[in-house]
Structures are given as structure tokens and as C-alpha cells.
Subunit: 219 residues, 2 copies
DNA sequence: TGACGAAGTAGACAGATGTATACTTCATTT
DNA sequence: AAATGAAGTATACATCTGTCTACTTCGTCA
């Protein structure tokens, strides 16, 4: 395999393999679904002979997995940056949301692939993506707990909300990418989503009656 | 076109057209994506000659739209039943969620198609589905407002939360269908999701400090 | 420098696909 | 009972697909 000269354990892709993966991302962004791409179609888009595909991948399933791996690596490096950014819980959601959407915006292909395949037809890809999303949620939750951003909420609940939030943001990212005029709206809605989840969770063990009297009481 | 004898304005499908649509739902449930289905594949699954397709549809795009129309009709009749079921806000979420998931469970094909195509490659289908989801959310919101289930939250917020909830439930429905052992968990998580959204929304105009003192104060 | 192996190319194959044309079946209408 | 037209079928064709076998290019290392 052609790997970068710098290091061959880091698996930095070059040559035809990279070209094929990038071709897949290009095609997917425009209109296709990853699992519906053809081998020849890929090669054509990459400017390569169809048979070159076989030099790098056994079949299309393996190819799909490698594409996921590629975007996973790509995303992880971005997500790491967003940690250590916030101070209070409200600032946290604002800054994090801003950052995450910006990131998705600058990686539209990877985002589109992720959203499509998460519910797509291939169980293999779905499973892989789900694991990756859960890992991200785990990171997010641990970060929140560690920094005691919402100490009034139990850890298990924070994990749960993190899982929901990661998915919510991923879905909205599609609209965010495609509809520039709605970006501010989407961002604000997302912040409200997160804040309401955590604030609502603070009231988890109160009855409906308790809350109504609590809210109506003038502070 | 062959329509039912009872009424031809109600567009009750019979014959090959119905067979093709049902074939699409069958194929989609198993592993495929609606927009990746082939004309011959469809005809084969339906037990018809490939050219019969052209008697009913101009092309595959139009076919996709008709499938969506079919499942839309199908779902609407189900969704109507779930109104007028709840009394308090907490009961409302419990009963509604139970009902909706049961419904999705008994219509796995339609559910799968909806989830796949909402973020799928065809802008046409996406737009159609989005409109339909928004209509459902609208209904849900109006119902909640009308019955004053959460009177402490402003109408616009109720609409927003309804939109989020409809989508959340749709995504979770995939797991609900495929992973029977997780059904109770998913249902409970969904209820918590809804309750937290509405309860959190009650605190929308309070500052973080206000809430912390509020929650910590012994009732 | 020469050999070795990986990356890329060329051509060919069987099978599947979308579509066109022409034919048959059969229910409805008059 | 005949006609009309929609639904369904048969056959054919060019095009595309995945895959096989054999060939060429070219960087790496002994």
C-alpha cells in the first residue's frame, strides 16, 4: 500500500485509495447514498481505471467501512478542539454549538455521509456509525461531568442527554449546511434544545404540581 | 387506472399499482433504500412484467412520490386515533408515546422508508416528507395548546418542541422496530425526552442562578 | 543495478438495467 | 354484442455493471 513517507503506522492515505474515497464523498454530497455507489462510478469520478478499485478494496462493503474510518479520523481531530471551551452551562452550550456547526459546515461531505448511513440500508455501516456516535456522546458527557457544568443532574442522565444531543445536532447539521439562511435559527433552536433538556432534567424527581407552583411563585 | 369500485375520488389502489408499491415497501424494509430501487427489481418482487411499471408511473421519481403518498395516507389514519387520549401532561406523554410506537411497530415498512428518505439523496422526496412531518407536528402542537396540557409554555415554544419531538420519535422508531429487547428502554427515554423539553421550557426565561436556588430550596 | 511487488491499465465476459415497440387480455360503456 | 381503452405481456436493444485475466509502470530495497 502507498502510505505517506512520514509514517506508515499513522495510515495517512495517498494515491488512488485516497482518490477513490474522496470521489465517494464528492458523489455522496451531491445526491447519492454511499451504499448505492457503484465501483465504476467511483473510478470514473476519481479518474482511475475501474480495476484499480480492487487493488485497494475487496468489495464495496469494505470500501464503505474505510470511508467511515476516514471521516471518523477526520472528525475526531476537530471534535477534540471543542473541549475546554466553556465555563458556565449556558456559555457551554452556546460556544459548543457554534463550534460544532462550523465544523460540520466545513466538512459537508463527511456530515452528509454520516447522516445518510446512520439510518441507511447497510447494517454494517449503521453499526459502525452508531458506535462512533456513542463514543462522541460519551466524551461529551464525561467532559460535562468532569467540569461540573450541571452538577444538579445525575451522571447517567447526563449520558442520556448527551446521546440525544449528539444525534439531534447531526440531523440538524444537514439543514445547517444546505440552508444558509436558516443557520442562525438552527443554532438558536439547538441551544434551546440543550438547555431545556438539562433544565428539565433538574426537575426530574419533582411532580407536575410541584413544578407549577414553583414556576408561578414570584422570585 | 384501476381504482376500487366503491369510489374513484378516494383513490383506493388496487391491481398492479398497489402491488408495485407494496413491493417497494417490502424491499425497503429488508435492506434497501427507496431511491435505489430498480424498475425491474420492483416488477420482479411484485410478480409483474417490468413494462407494467410504465402503465402506472412515468419514472422512478414519480414512483417514489406515490409511495410516500401511500404511506402518508396510511399513517394519517393512525395518527388521528391518538388524539383525545390524554388528560394531564404526564399521562399525555406516556399514552401518546405508547400508542405512536405501537403504530410504528405495526407499520415497519412505512416507518423505515420515512426515516431513510428524510435524509436521503432525493431532494424531491425529502421535501415531501418534511412537509408531512411538519404537518404532524402542527397537529400535535395545536392539540396540546387546545387542551391546555402545558399552559405555562407559550404557543410558539410548543410548536418548536412538537417539531423536535416528532423527529425524535421517528428516529427512535427504527431502533424500536429492530431491537425488541430495547423497546421499554426506548419508550421510557422518549417520555423523559418530552417531559424534560416541556419542563425545561417552563424555565426558559429564568436565569441559571434562579433555577439553581429554586431547585435546591426544600419544598 | 536489477529484481520484486504493489499500483495502475487494457480488454473482454456474462448478466442486469432502463426503455421502446408491438402484441394480448379483459372490464366498462354504449 | 361490439367497441374502446387501460392493464398487462413478449421481445429486443443499447448501455451499464461487477469481475476475471493479462499486461504495464514504477518505487523500494537488496
Amino acid at each position: 500500500m502507498y502510505l505517506s513517507r512520514v509514517s506508515n503506522s499513522m495510515k495517512v492515505l495517498i494515491g488512488g485509495k485516497l482518490k477513490l474515497i474522496q470521489a465517494a464523498l464528492r458523489l455522496t454530497t451531491q445526491s447519492r447514498s454511499l451504499s448505492s455507489l457503484g465501483l465504476r462510478e467511483l473510478a470514473r469520478e476519481a479518474g482511475l481505471n475501474p480495476n484499480t478499485f480492487y487493488r485497494h478494496f475487496k468489495n464495496l462493503d469494505e470500501f464503505g467501512l474505510q470511508v467511515l474510518g476516514y471521516i471518523a479520523t477526520d472528525m475526531k481531530s476537530g471534535v477534540r478542539e471543542l473541549r475546554r471551551m466553556a465555563e458556565s452551562s449556558e456559555q457551554a452550550s452556546h460556544d459548543t454549538v457554534t463550534f460544532v456547526y462550523r465544523y460540520f459546515q466545513s466538512n459537508p461531505a463527511a456530515t452528509t455521509v454520516a447522516v445518510r448511513e446512520l439510518h441507511g440500508p447497510s447494517p454494517l455501516l449503521r453499526k459502525a456509525l452508531e458506535a462512533q456516535l456513542n463514543a462522541s456522546a460519551q466524551e461529551m458527557a464525561e467532559d460535562i461531568i468532569e467540569r461540573q457544568l450541571v452538577s444538579a443532574v445525575p451522571p447517567e442522565t447526563i449520558h442520556e442527554i448527551s446521546r440525544m444531543t449528539i444525534r439531534y445536532i447531526l440531523f440538524r447539521a444537514m439543514d445547517y449546511i444546505e440552508k444558509p439562511e436558516q443557520r442562525e435559527t438552527i443554532q438558536r433552536e439547538t441551544e434551546r434544545f440543550i438547555n431545556r433538556q438539562f433544565r428539565g432534567a433538574m426537575l426530574d424527581n419533582l411532580s407536575q404540581g410541584d413544578i407549577e407552583t414553583l414556576v408561578k411563585r414570584p422570585s
